[in-house]
């Protein structure tokens, strides 16, 4: 909880991050930035998947199609927000010389993607073609 409040304060006053600790080797900052970008690409891919479900499964019932698409879009939003939060926390940990933060998010995201994938296989194989 304390961590969350600190993150929030950082978001509101970004220059604070520069006041803490020492500037790390620029290569570490760039590696952190590339990790951030990889998460943003994951978010964009999930959003693209949301569009794809809606556009390429036209024979599905509207409710199922919209539900799957919304689930993927919501996962994309979470992924983008988490990307910033994780980047800020890693940057701060590097400046303070602390351990990098650990996170349950990758597990949760992979489980969510697996559930959506299984749902799509079931839906495509066994129909629910109606409308």
């Amino acid at each position: 909880m304390n961590d969350f409040v600190q993150s929030l304060r950082l978001w509101c006053a970004p220059q604070r991050i520069r006041e803490e600790g020492d500037t790390p080797d620029y290569r570490f900052s760039l590696a952190n930035e590339r990790t951030f970008l990889a998460w943003i690409r994951t978010a964009l891919a999930l959003i693209g998947g949301g569009f794809a479900v809606d556009q390429f499964l036209p024979e599905l019932v509207w409710g199922v199609r919209a539900g799957l698409a919304l689930a993927l879009l919501a996962a994309g939003v979470l992924c983008a927000l988490r990307a910033v939060n994780h980047w800020v926390r890693c940057e701060r940990a590097m400046r303070r010389g602390e351990d990098l933060p650990v996170s349950r998010f990758p597990t949760l995201l992979s489980l969510a993607v697996a559930v959506v994938a299984v749902a799509m296989v079931v839906v495509v194989l066994f129909g629910w073609e109606g409308r």
């Binding site: 690409r41 978010a43 919209a66 698409a69 879009l73 939003v77």
Partner: protein, 103 residues
Amino acid sequence: MTAAERDPGLQPERTRLAWRRTTLSCTVVALLAGKQALHGGATPAGVVALSLSVLAWLGFLRVANRRVQGMGTSRPQPMEVRAALLAAAFTVALAVFAAAMLF
């Protein structure tokens, strides 16, 4: 950049390419948004959502371009918090307009 200060891991180059890949992903999403809004007849709401998506795409390109320009030195500064927030905000905006187009 002289030979003495060359980074053996080519980190700025790799980061620049990571930004390029990300803008390409963003472009694919914007194109899918265009297809979504225009196939089956353009409704006024769809056109509004598409215009806003294009604005978010342009904003993302601008953030990426500024960052890539800043990567030209041999010792680049760390990314600004503002740039990270803007990139994530434009991504979230694309998702929100995509959800709006579903209905």
